[in-house]
Symmetry: C2
């Protein structure tokens, strides 16, 4: 058993670090079906649509949202095939928002690739986003569940509200921690919550389980975004496959900035006002200065600490479900979301 013996330590090393792999393994057949469905459903006679969509979708990404839908359905003992449609639909909604986000943020890199807006222009990105969004609703209709449609239509409206609020609070150092929390609850956590909730809904589970999975997804989504926003101030851009420092360059008011601003001296506050409110005037040395201010007030550590607190809430929400590989895999996804920052 040389192979097994050789694999031993590797497996142990892998297990020592929280991973999304147990969740991926738990639903691997379903996820293969989702990947096929994604390719099939982005098809269109209008060739630019699959061309542009597949550029972003083929680049990968963790597919964490469809994994959550499949994992939630598994946890609920769902035996049908609608979870595959729903996971596809959730990924399409997410992809549509990414296409629109990159236009809004004028981003040039996403998942380690040049963004669609750079390659095909803003116009095509806006319209293909609209197409994927419509396609998502067509998929929902196929599930035949009005409750699913209600959940995901509500989530979509909340996501758009969150994105607009983010736009309004950007470049404004008077925006508060409460504003920030509302932005991330809306733009990120609402879809995580809906992705999990629909898994329980199609399995016809009772209200407390539906709410339990909603809570799990929501808290996980908040933790996930807190970590993302902490990582945006990390020294090394490789972690996320996107440009570290994007939030800073765009003058987004994320939690690390709010904390450093609130705890900063008058001089520091003036610094933050200048770089966040007129990001186009930033100087090369401002990035290092920002990191020094963040470090002085433990703003990144505190942001990650909040993420851990929301992670605990997510874990608590899971505990209402029976122990087993599904619950373990979903629980480890929380740790993965948080520990990827370390």
């Amino acid at each position: 058993m040389v192979a097994g013996a050789a694999a031993g330590p590797a497996v142990k090393t892998a297990a020592a670090r929280p991973s999304i792999e147990p969740l991926r393994l738990l639903v691997s057949d379903d996820m293969d079906a989702v990947n096929r469905e994604i390719l099939r459903r982005m098809a269109s006679d209008v060739s630019l649509i699959p061309e542009l969509a597949s550029h972003l979708i083929a680049a990968g990404g963790k597919r964490i949202r469809p994994l959550l839908t499949l994992g939630a359905a598994k946890l609920c003992g769902y035996r049908g095939d609608k979870h595959v449609l729903l996971a596809t639909c959730v990924e399409f909604i997410h992809t549509a928002t990414l296409l629109h986000d990159d236009v809004v943020d004028e981003s040039e890199r996403r998942r380690g690739n040049t963004t669609a807006n750079v390659l095909w222009g803003n116009q095509a990105s806006v319209l293909v986003g609209d197409f994927l969004f419509s396609r998502a609703f067509q998929l929902m209709v196929e599930t035949g569940s009005l409750e699913v449609l209600r959940i995901l239509a509500n989530a979509s409206a909340v996501i758009a509200e969150g994105e607009v609020l983010q736009l309004m609070t950007a470049n404004d150092m008077d925006s508060t921690e409460a504003d920030y929390l509302k932005v991330i609850e809306s733009k990120t956590a609402a879809l995580f919550a809906a992705a999990c909730r629909v898994g329980a809904v199609i399995a016809n589970r009772p209200d407390d389980e539906v709410q339990g999975l909603d809570d799990y997804g929501r808290y996980l989504g908040i933790a996930f975004q807190l970590v993302d926003d902490a990582l945006d101030y990390a020294a090394d851009g490789a972690t996320l496959g996107k440009n570290t420092g994007d939030d800073f360059k765009e003058g987004k008011v994320t939690l690390p900035v709010v904390l450093a601003f609130n705890r900063g001296s008058e001089t520091e506050r003036s610094f933050w006002r200048r770089v966040i409110e007129q990001p186009e005037e930033q100087q090369p040395e401002d990035w290092q200065q920002a990191q020094r201010h963040l470090a002085r007030h433990g703003a990144i550590e505190e942001t990650l600490g909040r993420a851990r607190l929301y992670g605990q809430k997510a874990r608590q929400a899971l505990m209402a479900f029976p122990a087993g590989t599904a619950r373990d895999a979903l629980a480890e996804a929380i740790d993965f979301a948080i520990e990827r920052a370390l």
Copy 2:
């Protein structure tokens, strides 16, 4: 009866020119309810959303799509209240596409006003469009009809496909009349068809009536867009409340251009290739030159002739329904759509 006698000739004068007014009168109470619903449903805690949305919605426009939904429901003898939700939803889908269109086309004027993208930026227009689109789906869910959701999700996907196809065929004089027809069937006629179809669906009418109203809407939509595209080459910009010459400036390949190109001399074809394929290089005199070429080949008249043919098809589709004020009002809407060009 002095007042009555005085009103007589005025009514006759009004009747002499086809109008949308009979349709508006037919459903005026319902339309008041729709206008209230529109205001109510664009509300959001995120203040920029109602601010931006109401700029476009308050500017008016003919509201022809919600009028069609209400008129179709009336023609089908519908007695419930879901038609008001549906008409609101149809107008929201239309408004969302206008916001995105204006970003895509970099338009500066719409309905006689400065566009939202100019006033609030592309970012806000994209995101508020997404919000209105999501809101439209929330309204559909409230009707409780999966069939309605199916129809409008399909229409939304087809609209996005049409917009992308329009983007692909723009600035390309090799695009054909068939391409053009597919673009307008998708980007315009699909929503007209859906707006009418749902009126029959909520009234639980048999398939042939559902299809009849779908046909009516589709042909009317094609006629409507043909006239729009003819008017874009009209001498006077006041007619549409938008800038005459926009299509020319953007290098869109609409039917007047296709016809003039196909019938033109080699010199004329070179002219069209130059102005359509590199619109940014257009010279001030090109606009007059284009109009001379269009006139020489009767391209505008022919475009309006096609609109009349589709208008006849729309009328034919209506004839399956019993005679009465509803049918008359919907028939007159066809003439209105066409005659506004004269």
